[in-house]
C-alpha cells in the first residue's frame, strides 16, 4: 500500500488528457468568439464554450477527488529540490486555475443575466444577481486567468518535453504510457 506507483492510473490519465483536450478547444474558441459580431453562430459557439468549461470544472473536481484518494507517482530523484518544488507549484496552480477560470466564466454568465444551461439541458443556478459592473469584472478575471493558465500550460508542456528528450527520466511516460 505504501509503495509509490511508477505511473498514473488509467483514471488519472484519462481525466488528464480529456481535460487537456477540452482546454485546448475552449481556450482558442473563447478568444475567437468574443470578437464575432452578434449572430446565431456566435450564440451557439458561446454556449459550446460554456459547456466545455463547465465540463472541465466537473472533471477537475473528479480529478481532485482522485488526487485525494491516490498517491501520485514520485518525481525522479535526479530532479533537484527546486525543480521538484517548481513542478509541484505549477501543478497546484493548474488545479487552482482549472477551477478559477470556469468559475469566473460561470459568475460572468450569472452577472450578465445569461445563465449557463449545461448542454442545453441542465440549468446551473445563478451564483450572483444581474450586474453590469460584476459582469465586467468577471469577464476580465476570466480572460486574465485563462491567459495565465495558458502560460502555465506552456511551461508544463515544455517541462514534459524536457523530461522526455533532455533528462530522459520517464516522467512524461507516467502520463503517456505509450512512450515507454
Amino acid at each position: 500500500m505504501t509503495t509509490t506507483p511508477t505511473q498514473y492510473t488509467r483514471t488519472a490519465i484519462a481525466l488528464h488528457w480529456l481535460i487537456a483536450l477540452l482546454i485546448f478547444i475552449a481556450f482558442p474558441v473563447g478568444l475567437y468568439m468574443v470578437d464575432l459580431p452578434l449572430s446565431p453562430q456566435k450564440l451557439k459557439i458561446i454556449s459550446w464554450h460554456k459547456w466545455a468549461g463547465i465540463t472541465v470544472l466537473a472533471l477537475v473536481l473528479v480529478r481532485i477527488l482522485w488526487r485525494a484518494t491516490h498517491r501520485p507517482p514520485a518525481l525522479p530523484d535526479s530532479m533537484s529540490r527546486i525543480e521538484k518544488l517548481a513542478a509541484q507549484g505549477a501543478h497546484h496552480l493548474l488545479y487552482l486555475l482549472m477551477i478559477a477560470v470556469p468559475m469566473a466564466g460561470w459568475l460572468m454568465s450569472s452577472a450578465k443575466g445569461f445563465p449557463v444551461v449545461w448542454f442545453g439541458v441542465l440549468p446551473l443556478p445563478d451564483l450572483i444577481g444581474k450586474s453590469e459592473s460584476l459582469a465586467e469584472f468577471f469577464e476580465q478575471a476570466h480572460e486574465i486567468l485563462a491567459w495565465l493558465m495558458a502560460l502555465i500550460v506552456v511551461v508544463h508542456a515544455a517541462a514534459a518535453v524536457k523530461h522526455h528528450f533532455a533528462a530522459r527520466d520517464g516522467v512524461l511516460a507516467r502520463m503517456l504510457p505509450r512512450l515507454k
Binding site: 446565431p40 458561446i46 454556449s47 445569461f114 442545453g120 439541458v121 444581474k130
Partner: protein, 185 residues
C-alpha cells in the same frame, strides 16, 4: 312588491359596477417583460416605455377594454450589443415600425379573480390575434393586473434571415405584464 325586489336586485347588481373603474396607469409600478430562450437558456428582457389605455370594472367585465402601445426602441434585452441588434431590420425594424400595439376586442371572466383578454397584436406591421389570461386584484385604490402569454416571434417576422433558426433562438417568446392602474374618480 315584486317590482320593488327586482328593482332592488338590479340596483344591488348595478352598484359595484359603478363603484370602481380603473383607468390611469402607474408606469413606475407597471412592467412589460419578456423571456426568450437562446440555446435553451431563458433570457429576460423588458420594454421601458409603453402606454396603456385601460378601462376595467370588475363587475362589468364585458365592457372592459385595454389598449397598448409600446415603444420598440425602449427595449432592454439585458445587453447593449443585443439592444443594438434587435432594433435592426432582421428583428423589429424599429425605424419603420417604431411601435407595437394591442387593442382588446373582448374581455371575459374565467371565474374567481381570473380573466381573459383577446385582441389583435401588431408588431412589425404584422397582426396576430392573441389571448392572454390575467388576474386582477385590488390594492388600495389601485387595480393590479398580471398576466402572461406566449407569442411565436416568427409570425411577426421578429428575427428574420439567419435569426430565423429556432434551434438558436426559440420561436416561443413569453410576454409577461403587470399593470397597476388607479381607480378613476
Amino acid at each position: 312588491m315584486k317590482i320593488l325586489v327586482t328593482a332592488l336586485a338590479a340596483a344591488a347588481l348595478a352598484l359595484p359596477a359603478a363603484a370602481v373603474e380603473y383607468g390611469t396607469l402607474d408606469p413606475a409600478k407597471s412592467s412589460l417583460a419578456f423571456t426568450s430562450k437562446q440555446m435553451g437558456v431563458p433570457v429576460d428582457g423588458k420594454f421601458n416605455k409603453f402606454k396603456v389605455a385601460l378601462s376595467f370594472d370588475p363587475a362589468a367585465v364585458q365592457k372592459a377594454s385595454a389598449g397598448f402601445e409600446l415603444e420598440i426602441a425602449s427595449i432592454d434585452t439585458g445587453s447593449k450589443e443585443a439592444n443594438d441588434e434587435v432594433v435592426g431590420k432582421d428583428w423589429f425594424n424599429a425605424k419603420q415600425f417604431p411601435t407595437a400595439v394591442f387593442k382588446s376586442t373582448s374581455v371575459k371572466a374565467l371565474g374567481g379573480n381570473r380573466f381573459e383578454v383577446t385582441g389583435p397584436l401588431t408588431i412589425k406591421g404584422r397582426t396576430q390575434n392573441v389571448t392572454a389570461p390575467f388576474t386582477y386584484k385590488a390594492d388600495g385604490a389601485n387595480g393590479v393586473f398580471e398576466g402572461a402569454f406566449t407569442i411565436k416571434r416568427l409570425q411577426f417576422g421578429i428575427g428574420e434571415g439567419p435569426w430565423g433558426d429556432t434551434s438558436t433562438v426559440a420561436d416561443d417568446v413569453q410576454i409577461k405584464f403587470r399593470l397597476v392602474a388607479a381607480a378613476r374618480k
